[in-house]
């Protein structure tokens, strides 16, 4: 998930560059050879850096880390409605620091050092609805009066919001618990209204990726702080085409922050979060390029992942621990997007097909990318094994 978030961050950065630079297509701004996707590979002096052996503390780390350049709260969910029709949804809140901590402006009215972007999507069948919001805040704003800030995160009781899009703890006030949470986000009017009002209940523990939450993103050692809650049981209502229906299913929340995520040579990524029917979870991504320490222009791909038992025990997967192979592509938004993959994790005896039942999951946000539900099946027998989400950027 994190890489796809990265891509979204690039979206954000590209948005930064393109909002006011009309006539400059997003393709141009995303195809950067030496600063990585949307500038995410830039050096980021003045910011704090993600390093191994930084211990995560909760609930504090649920909140924002404004000294880091980028951060997100990223939820995907595989649900079904009362009639058993599958339905996917996404809700993401991105944060970007506009400047290093040392250059922050005084907190006068409207002055901002944090830029926020939120994406929501609902997918069912051929339908795929997308909405996007932006906001600003100052990291020194008093969040206890949350009308003082358009967007913000409070760690306890947990509350993340941008306007009326909100993810917040629904337990008793003062509780440190990260569960249960309620998520509300709506967009559009009347017939075109869509959105959701959901309750998220954790069925397992938080999972730290990489080395105790430090997730390396390139061979040169750079990376991010990365943990997930992959065990959400979700119930609630989804509104689509102005009609509301009850839904339930599984969700996966990613939390990641960093100041420099990509090697300058990396051009995009493919990222997977999978729920196996037997209770296992799998997170796997590959960054295309930057997979070695050579000075080659492109470099090899860099792969990383986590195999999670039904009890939440993580096993980090290194570059050589799994193979992702694209099997078939679909034409989406004028590009060829791999919508069928083969994923092999020999150590976990996994050899599966990962396939998107619907190819049109293109996110028509300020910087576009592909994000949608996938189904997994045993490669040998074809037996359905579960479901999940796939994100692909840089195509």
């Amino acid at each position: 998930m994190s890489l796809s978030r990265l891509q979204n961050f690039r979206l954000l950065l590209a948005f930064t560059a393109t909002l006011m630079l009309y006539g400059c297509s997003s393709e141009e701004s995303t195809s950067t050879a030496d600063t990585g996707f949307a500038g995410l590979g830039q050096e980021a002096d003045g910011f704090q850096y993600a390093k191994p052996n930084q211990l995560l503390t909760f609930p504090t780390d649920h909140a924002a880390h404004p000294d880091y350049r980028i951060e997100w709260w990223y939820l995907t969910a595989n649900l079904e409605d009362a009639s058993g029709e599958p339905l996917g949804l996404q809700w993401t809140l991105f944060r970007q620091a506009l400047m290093p901590p040392s250059e922050r402006p005084a907190p006068t009215p409207w002055a901002a050092d944090q830029l926020w972007m939120a994406h929501m999507a609902i997918s069912q069948g051929e339908q795929h609805e997308v909405a996007e919001r932006f906001g600003r805040s100052h990291s020194q704003a008093d969040l206890s009066v949350h009308q003082d800030s358009q967007a913000g995160i409070i760690s306890s009781p947990f509350h993340a919001w941008l306007d009326d899009w909100q993810l917040k703890a629904s337990g008793e006030a003062g509780s440190d618990a990260f569960s249960p949470l309620t998520l509300t986000a709506y967009s559009g009017e009347d017939e075109s209204r869509f959105g959701y009002s959901l309750t998220l209940t954790a069925q397992g523990p938080l999972v730290l990726h990489g080395q105790q939450g430090f997730s390396q993103k390139a061979a040169n050692g750079q990376g991010s702080m990365y943990y997930s809650q992959p065990f959400w049981q979700i119930d609630g209502n989804v509104t689509l085409n102005g009609e509301t229906k009850a839904v339930n299913g599984r969700g996966w929340l990613d939390r990641e922050w960093s100041s420099q995520l990509l090697d300058a040579r990396q051009s995009g990524w493919d990222w997977l979060s999978l729920h196996f029917n037997d209770g296992h979870k799998l997170m796997a991504f590959q960054l295309r390029g930057g997979g070695d320490n050579t000075d080659q222009e492109q470099g090899a791909d860099y792969r990383s992942g986590t195999w999670i038992t039904p009890q939440g025990e993580p096993t980090p997967l290194a570059n050589t621990d799994f193979i992702m192979t694209p099997l078939a592509t679909s034409a989406v938004a004028g590009r060829d997007i791999p919508t069928r993959w083969r994923l092999e994790v020999p150590s976990a005896s996994v050899d599966i097909n990962v396939e998107a039942p619907y190819a049109n999951r293109w996110m028509t946000t300020s910087v576009p990318y592909w994000e949608g539900e996938v189904e997994i099946s045993d490669r040998a027998s074809g037996e359905p094994l579960g479901e999940g989400y796939l994100e692909m950027t840089g195509y």
Partner: protein, 826 residues
């Protein structure tokens, strides 16, 4: 034959070497015609560009929210609305003054929440969102708003400038954080906006104004520009009169040459071709000069125009010309088109030239009689058109027919102009007959008949200029009288108070106890949608936005407040008014064809009311429709916030003392209190400015007509002297002959001036009764000013005498030898 063209052309042009005066006159005409026209078009084009930029920006493309209680909007309001899911965006607006004294509108925006297809996003040039949103921020401005200094009068510095041509004139755009610092606005914001239609309805506690309801400056100022265009067209026509006169003269004098050329074997087509090339050549020179001076003229007038539009309509117009490419092409096309129009007759005559026919006075004399006949018939036809237009307008609802109104004025002018030469000829004929016993007078009159063809075009131009001058002058004069009287009637309190809405209750209570205060005239303001109207003929659905204005109908106001029409009488109207009936302003009554007794269905958020119209009232200078109610009624029924308060004092009360006491007691700003004199002064100033341009253009047109006359006279000065010389030889002293020349022309001008009087009155009438009603929505009483008329006559004669003075002086000062030589050379 084409090979011969240069030779033919050179031969034709040689004429101008011998008669540089004719060339000068021709170019003068072209120059003047295209200068005034292109000057006005330059102003219009610049204004249109400004409107387009303003339209494309915020006001007219975004719905707006205001607080129902009139209190300023705050950041908390914004966040609360966002957290309620409403897609609103904050804006800060204020004025900053740079060190060099330039006043600029500063707009602070939040690019993140502003509807993202808003042109602001495109109004940009370079730089990233981060640069826009973070220190040192950016100032975006169009090139015409860029000032030399980025330091403000208060010592603060603007963020670095970034060029963004699409931003309206005199406007700076920056991030709301930077704007808040410069404007020291704290938690307050000026407005909340949303993409059109994004809000289904106004949230509780707010009023919502739809983008489509906000009239664009382009619409409001349309009539103003039509006015300017009409004046430009007038100047163009007057200029073409000169061109036509010069071309006619040049052709007449070259008839012999043309015949010789034909005899020498130049084909008629080549001749016409050569003449066309000559016309084109002259046209290009004249048009180029004209457009250049037009741009200069526009640059000169633009600040006044901009000030007028700003004060009349609140429309911002750049003070720097901004001319699109089609302006230049259009200017050239109009100039050349005019030349073709004026020169078409010449070409036609040249094409039909009879090789054998000799240039005979006789043919010419009968030709002129035929021309007079044609003019009379043409004049009658155009007068018929005018009559038809008038008839048609009578059956139109008032307020319609702006273009028809202008067409009526044009037809009147044209008909009168066409009739002028036949009229002058007739007058001369009658007078000649009467003056048989006075040989010199007789001669002078007869001679005038002979001169008539040469000066009639100039006289026509003079007539048009005079009549327009009188018409516009009377309209402006009448407007001034009416407007000043109306101001007096409306401004009954010596002191007016403009305080924050929440303070009025306290101030009102305090004033109520003040011994010097006799009455408090609280006004309230709000807006509503006029859903439908119910008249005796049935009801009509409308959906027009209107202003609601509340006044206090007390004893100081009601006796003076002007009313135009009431259902029964004034007293009843005011009694009904106090009990909830409404008055509507003339603009609204005209636009929607309302009269007292009709009913209005008004809707405001959460309110739906039906009001009966008790009266209509004049509301000069207001571009929108207004419904007037008693303040308490407006407060009770529409929840309208207070907007100002007139304070009426007892006789001999100390205004200044009260003023000071109020300021001190309530901590009011320096501009919260204004006295009546001040308001009147400002209003009068705006009024004067409104007509500065009109008057300037009028004077210019008159000057052009005078030039036309002078040019015609100069062009025939030589042949005039040749005609006068034998008379002198017969024993008429030179001085007497010179005087006679003056009297001749003065007399013709006097007749022209006399004709201009009724014509001018007709134009005044058209302006006040048709054009103003259609353009502004109010009708002025028709005022006639004998003094203006006397001035018109005097102007006519003065213009003629001035024009005739130079040739007459030259004749009078000519040595006998010169006269003799001319006489002998003949």
């Amino acid at each position: 034959m084409i090979k011969a063209l240069p030779t033919v052309l050179a031969t034709l042009l040689a004429h101008y070497r011998r008669h540089p005066g004719q060339l000068a006159m021709l170019l003068l005409g072209l120059w003047v015609a295209s200068a005034l026209w292109s000057g006005i078009q330059a102003i219009n084009a610049t204004a249109r560009d400004s409107y387009a930029r303003a339209d494309a920006m915020f006001d007219t493309q975004l719905d707006q929210l205001e607080r129902r209680d009139g209190a300023p909007l705050t950041r908390a309001d914004y966040h609360a609305l966002r957290q309620a899911g409403l897609p609103v965006s904050p804006m800060l607006e204020g004025e900053v003054v740079t060190q060099d004294g330039t006043r600029l509108t500063l707009i602070g925006i939040d690019p993140l929440t502003l509807a993202n297809n808003n042109p602001l996003a495109q109004a940009d040039s370079s730089g990233s969102l981060t640069d826009f949103m973070t220190a040192p921020w950016q100032t975006r401005a169009a090139p015409d708003a860029l000032t030399a200094t980025t330091t403000l009068a208060n010592g603060k510095a603007l963020p670095p400038l970034v060029l963004a041509p699409a931003i309206p004139p005199d406007t700076l755009i920056m991030d709301i954080a930077a704007a808040a610092r410069l404007l020291q606005s704290g938690e307050e914001i000026t407005r909340l906006v949303a993409a059109p239609g994004a809000l289904a309805e106004a949230p509780a506690g707010f009023t919502l104004t739809r983008a489509t309801r906000i009239a664009t400056p382009g619409q409001l100022t349309e009539s103003f520009h039509l006015n300017l265009t009409a004046l430009g067209l007038l100047a163009w026509v007057v200029g073409l009169f000169i061109v036509q006169a010069a071309l006619g003269l040049a052709l007449e004098q070259r008839l012999g040459m043309l015949r010789t050329l034909r005899v020498l074997g130049v084909s008629g087509r080549s001749l016409v071709l050569a003449l066309s090339v000559e016309l084109l050549l002259l046209g290009l020179i004249g048009a180029a000069a004209g457009i250049a001076s037009g741009v200069w003229l526009a640059r000169l007038l633009l600040p006044d125009v901009a000030a007028t539009l700003g004060s009349l309509y609140g429309a911002g117009v750049g003070r720097e010309l901004n001319l699109p490419w089609h302006y230049w092409v259009g200017g050239l096309a109009v100039s050349l088109g005019g030349l073709l129009l004026a020169g078409g007759g010449v070409l036609w005559r040249a094409a039909r030239l009879n090789t054998l026919e000799l240039g005979q006075m006789q043919a010419w004399r009968s030709g002129y009689r035929r021309q007079l006949m044609l003019m009379s018939i043409g004049g009658a036809f155009v007068a018929g058109v005018a009559l038809a237009l008038y008839g048609w307008l009578r059956f139109q609802p008032p307020g319609d027919g702006l273009v028809a109104g202008f067409a009526l004025v044009a037809a009147l002018l044209l008909a009168s102009a066409l009739w002028l030469p036949p009229l002058l000829a007739l007058v001369l004929k009658v007078l000649t007959h009467l003056a048989r016993r006075r040989p010199l007078v007789h001669w002078a009159l007869a001679d005038m008949q002979l001169q008539l063809p040469k000066i009639s075009l100039a006289m026509m131009a003079l007539l048009i200029a005079l009549a327009t001058n009188l018409g516009v002058g009377s309209m402006v004069g009448g407007f001034r009288l009416t407007f000043l009287e109306w101001l007096d009637q409306r401004l009954v309190a010596p002191l007016y108070l403009n305080a924050p809405a929440e303070q009025y209750t306290d101030i009102d209570a305090w004033l109520a106890d003040h011994p010097d205060v006799s009455e408090r005239l609280l006004t309230r303001r709000s807006e509503a949608i006029l859903e439908s109207i119910i008249t005796p003929k049935g009801s009509r659905a409308l959906g027009t936005p209107i202003e609601l204005y509340g006044i206090t109908p007390g004893e100081s106001l009601t006796p003076h407040w002007p009313l135009l029409a009431t259902q029964q009488d004034r007293d009843t109207a005011w009694a009904d008014f106090s009990h909830g009936a409404a008055f509507v302003n003339e603009q609204l009554a005209t636009a929607e064809n309302l009269s007292p007794g009709d009913q209005l269905n008004l809707r405001a958020p959460g309110v739906s009311e039906t009001l009966t119209i008790a009266a209509t009232y004049p509301d000069y200078g207001n571009p929108s429709g207004q419904v007037l109610m008693a303040s308490p009624q407006l407060a009770a029924r529409f929840n309208a916030p207070p907007s100002s308060m007139g304070v009426v004092l007892h006789l001999n009360a100390d205004v200044d003392a009260l003023r000071e006491a109020l300021t001190e007691r309530f901590g009011l700003g320096s501009d919260a209190l204004s006295d009546q004199r001040e308001i009147k002064r400002i209003a009068t100033e705006i009024f004067e400015r409104t007509f500065t341009i009109t008057r300037a253009l009028n004077v210019l047109t008159l000057a052009v007509a005078a030039l036309a006359l002078l040019a015609s006279l100069l062009a025939q000065a030589r042949s005039r002297r040749q005609q006068l010389a034998p008379l002198w030889a017969l024993g008429v002293p030179r001085a007497q002959l010179a005087q006679l020349s003056l009297v001749q022309l003065g007399g013709a001008a006097l007749v022209t001036g006399l004709l201009a009087l009724p014509l001018g009155i007709a134009i005044t009438w058209s302006l006040v009764a048709i054009i103003n009603v259609a353009a502004f929505g109010w009708r002025l009483p028709l005022h006639l000013f004998p003094w203006e008329m006397a001035v018109t006559l005097a102007t006519a004669v003065a213009v003629a005498l001035l024009s005739a003075a130079l040739p007459a002086l030259r004749f009078w000062r000519a040595s006998p030898r010169t006269l003799l030589a001319e006489e002998a050379n003949q």
